[in-house]
Every structure is written in structure tokens, then in C-alpha cells.
Symmetry: C2
Subunit: 311 residues, 2 copies
């Protein structure tokens, strides 16, 4: 059997998520370059240190460190987009310079209804939507701490699994992290939103409470938000399992103390994924004329908070 | 005509509200003593300085400054209760030592459904419920700044206006501040709650936005909360005017930049009137089985905020 050439990957947005999954691809033999704006000089010199509670500690030296995708020479098999989904970041513009006919675009990002922008801009490319179930933070320049979990779920849009997706999945698995594929990745995105929609904003609006305290104090309110997400998903054609709220509540009770990504962004003065997680869900609700007052409330308060912060 | 003896008043909770209205009573000739716990030594020495944009600046020297009501010698005609309504303050215990058969109990306080506790404890006394429409802050020990407005509205419980109330009202009016009486003071309390229920918690949860910014950014949400208060008031037998939400919105657009009392308490690390304003309204809604999800959301978030602050 002919051994295939190692795939060429360009990671755009090499923070905690991009750096971690990029490092796994490199470990499995892929040629992994990164676009890294904020820590460019440091990462070009030193690469990344990955400190994983599950896999140990290693250095990830990207094949190239670039300031933007236009600097990339040659063609990539995969462009892996791992930025935050916030209004100030133009996702299409970031990846466009490196996308050719054969490029598969993978995004590992939070939020719902974030697909159309990419689908419209690149109608002839394979678009792979990815969800990371991971607890992973960048603790300092080029240093990524992988605390727990790690599973990646991938699926082509609108709903299939391609060979390229399978191949990508294998590379992640080879490096020791679970990767699954699904023909219903859009449904999976709504499932993840069931947890994100309450806990991300509540951690910020409470002034920094961990998830367990939020749940112990206001379980009914958390459930109310979760149920609204389920109803929106259903009218959008993605009926979620009947027990999904109960399962999310039970899992959160036994999770280690956890700071949500929105809380980390808030504490660091970074833009938050309010629109990707809450705004998009609410717009989907409004399209379908269902009322979701808990979600509306949380969204309104997040907008006020952002206004106060000048975000 | 025989000139009646000046009435004896004991003010309990001599912060901005108690100090200001107490000073007006003294100006009009009443014998006004105060219970003043936090600034006792200072006020005993110096009295209060009242700095009013409307009435000028003067010194208010109470006839007595006490640490608690039990120290009061003799009997009072009026006990004027002006503390915050928060779970850590036992309002009944504060006034009990000084209440005799002829004492009228007046409370000038925020919140809805705060009457029963006092009515139950003193079933044979005149109980007068008061609402202050005033912008007034204690800026330092014994110094009270009266910025704007000032109207006091009084009414006996459950629904009348007594001679004692009229007499009290006259003293306030004599000193230059509007005072009105009403036979429906409980309805007035719900009316005031229409404004307090959104703006107080939203100013805190937004991280300190002034009322105008809140309104400009999230008017629909503010209206949603106001409408829920109107519905609760109605099922409690207090139908509010049809245009009350519109009037409140319009008035707030032309109000000077204003920090709510809850925001001031929050910034000073003091307990907030979450239960008196939101909790009591919500409990009234639950009794009547109407759903008020916006109010529920705001209440849940305030409870999380208090939990984080250790309040």
C-alpha cells in the first residue's frame, strides 16, 4: 500500500484550542503551520509548550509561524479555524487567502448558526464543522494547559462525513485524544448550546461564580434557559433528546470547579461570544416566533455589560 | 385657638432619607430625635449638614442622638422608620422599644408587600406607609446631599388618611417640600415598583450603567419587566394606569443621569433591597400563579450576584 503524503494544515487562531489540536496533528505526522498574531515573535522562536494532564508535556514546533494566512506558500489540505466567533473577527477574510479548490475548511468554534457565513463564502469547498469538549487554557505566551476532557466531534456541512474528515479524525485519535464524526453536526452544535447558553453568561453576570455555585443557587433558572434552547433547536429541525436538560444538570453537579470561556474572556477584557451563543439562538427563536424570555433576559443583560465595558 | 404642642418624632435609620425628612420636621418646629448607629459619635457632636439644591444649606441638630430606640425617654408621637428593607434588619425589633398606644408608625421605605410585618406586630397602632420620590445621598458622615425632587407620599394602612398623617404632611410642606396623602398608598407602592424593578437591578447587573444608557440600549427588556409588575399589581387588586409604562419610559429619558439606590449600595458593599423590590413582587406573582419570566431572570441573577459578594 502506498503511504500517503502527510497532510498540510494551516491553523488560524492558534490560542488554546488551535494550539492544542494543531499539536496533536503534528504529533501524528501532519505538516502543521500556524497563523499566530498576538504571540507571533514568541511562538516563532519557541513554539508551544503543551502541558496536558492526560498526555504529558511536549513542545509543538509548527512547520511555519505566520502573521497572516496570505504569507503561506503552497496549498493546504486543511485550514483549521479556531478563533473566537465575535463580531470584530471576520472569519471569512482570515481564511480566504489560503483556500484553494482542494482545501477543506474545518472550524472548531462555539455557538449556533455560525455555519452560513462560511458556506456562502466558499460554496465549492468541503466545510467541516467541529466542536471541542475540552477544558484547555492558554496560561501564558505559547503555553497551553490541557486540564480535562478533550473530545473533538466533526461533521461535514450540511450533513455527511467525508474521507477528508475521517482522515483528520484519525490523526487526532492517533495522538491519544478521542475524535468522533457525525452526520448531524448541526444538531450537536445545538446540544452543546444547551450547556453554554446558561453557564457562560451566568458566570459573567454573577461576577465570576463557578458553575457548581450557579447551579446550586439557581437550578430552576438554569433549567429554564436550557429548555428554551431545546425549543429553539426543535423549531429549527433539531429535536434534542428528551433527557438532555437532566443529563446536563447532573453532569454539571459532578464537574470539577470550572471557569467558563466567557468568564475567562471577561476577566481578560476580551470580547465575549455573546452573539455566537445567545444572539444567534435568539434570532433563530424570533424567526420562528417562539418566545424565550429567559434567554432574552440573559442576552439583554450581557449586552448591557458589554456596553459598560466598551466591548 | 390653642397652639398645639410640637410633635415628638424619633427617626430610626438616619441615613440620607431619615436625615433629610427629619431635618424638615425639625425646621417646621417638631422635636426630632434620631437613632443613628454607624455615625453616632459624629452626629452627636455635629448634627447633620443638609445641602439641598432646592432649599439651600443648613445644620440639623436633633434634640437627641441615640444608639438605639430603647434609650429614648418619654413617648413619641411619631416613629419614623427609614432603614433599608433588607433581611439583615429586623424592622419590628428596631422600633418596638419606643412604640406606645399613641405612637403613629411611619415608614418611608422602598419595596412592595413590606407592610404586613409591621401591621402584624403593631395591630393597634396607626401605621402610615410612605414613599419618597427623591434623589438624595449621604456623601460623608452626617452630610446629606439633596440633589433633586423630594415629594413624599403618605397614607394610612390599609387605606385611609388620618389627622396624624395630615399633621405630619403639613410639617413637611411647611419646610418647602411637597407632601401628598392618598387613600391608596399600597397602589402607589406598586406604581413606584414599576420603575424600581427594572432600573435598580439592571444598574447593578450591567456593572454600573446609568439609567439612560440602560434604556437606550435595552428599552424592550425594561418595558417587559415593567409590564410584569403591572400584571402582578393587577392580580393583587391594584390596577395601575394603562399608560404607566409609557410614562415611566418617557420620564426616564429626560431624567438627569442617575445612580439607583441599589447601585449605590452595591458600590458601597452594602446589602441591597433585592428581596423588598424583586423577591416580594415575585412571591406575589407566584401566589397568583402568573408567570413573570423577566422578573424571575433578574431576581435569579441578583441572587447570584449577592452570593458572589457574600451578601
Amino acid at each position: 500500500m502506498k503511504k500517503s503524503k502527510p497532510p498540510k494544515v494551516l491553523v488560524i487562531g492558534a490560542g488554546a484550542i488551535g494550539g492544542f489540536y494543531g499539536s496533536l496533528l503534528a504529533k501524528a505526522g501532519a505538516d502543521v503551520a500556524v497563523v499566530c498574531r498576538s504571540d507571533y515573535e514568541y511562538v516563532k522562536q519557541n513554539g508551544f509548550i503543551i502541558d496536558s494532564h492526560k498526555l504529558g508535556t511536549w513542545v509543538f514546533k509548527p512547520s511555519e509561524v505566520l502573521k497572516n494566512a496570505a504569507e503561506y506558500k503552497g496549498t493546504v489540505d486543511y485550514v483549521l479555524l479556531c478563533t473566537k466567533v465575535v463580531p470584530s473577527i471576520d472569519r471569512v477574510a482570515l481564511i480566504r487567502p489560503v483556500v484553494t479548490a482542494d482545501t477543506a475548511i474545518i472550524f472548531i468554534q462555539n455557538g449556533v448558526e455560525i455555519e452560513q457565513e462560511i458556506l456562502s463564502a466558499f460554496p465549492d469547498n468541503q466545510i467541516i464543522s467541529g466542536l471541542a469538549f475540552i477544558c484547555c487554557n492558554q496560561i501564558t505566551k505559547g503555553e497551553i494547559l490541557h486540564l480535562a476532557y478533550g473530545r473533538l466531534t466533526l461533521g461535514n456541512l450540511p450533513g455527511s462525513v467525508s474521507h477528508k474528515t475521517m482522515r483528520f479524525c484519525k490523526l487526532i485519535t492517533q495522538s491519544g485524544i478521542e475524535c468522533t464524526t457525525t452526520e448531524n453536526i448541526v444538531t450537536e452544535r445545538w446540544k452543546k448550546c444547551v450547556w453554554n447558553a446558561p453557564f457562560n453568561p451566568l458566570s459573567v453576570l454573577s461576577g465570576g461564580l463557578p458553575t457548581l455555585s450557579i447551579l446550586q443557587s439557581q437550578e430552576a433558572f438554569v433549567r429554564g434557559i436550557m429548555q428554551e434552547i431545546c425549543r429553539i433547536a426543535e423549531v429549527c429541525g433539531h429535536r434534542l433528546p428528551d433527557d438532555i436538560v437532566d443529563v446536563n444538570i447532573a453532569n454539571t453537579y459532578v464537574m470539577p470547579p470550572y471557569k467558563t470561556s466567557m468568564l475567562l474572556d471577561y476577566e481578560n477584557g476580551h470580547p465575549m461570544e455573546t452573539e455566537a451563543i445567545l444572539g444567534n439562538a435568539l434570532r433563530a427563536a424570533n424567526r420562528s416566533s417562539i418566545t424565550t424570555p429567559y434567554l432574552e433576559s440573559v442576552y439583554a443583560l450581557m449586552k448591557l455589560r458589554e456596553l459598560k465595558l466598551g466591548l
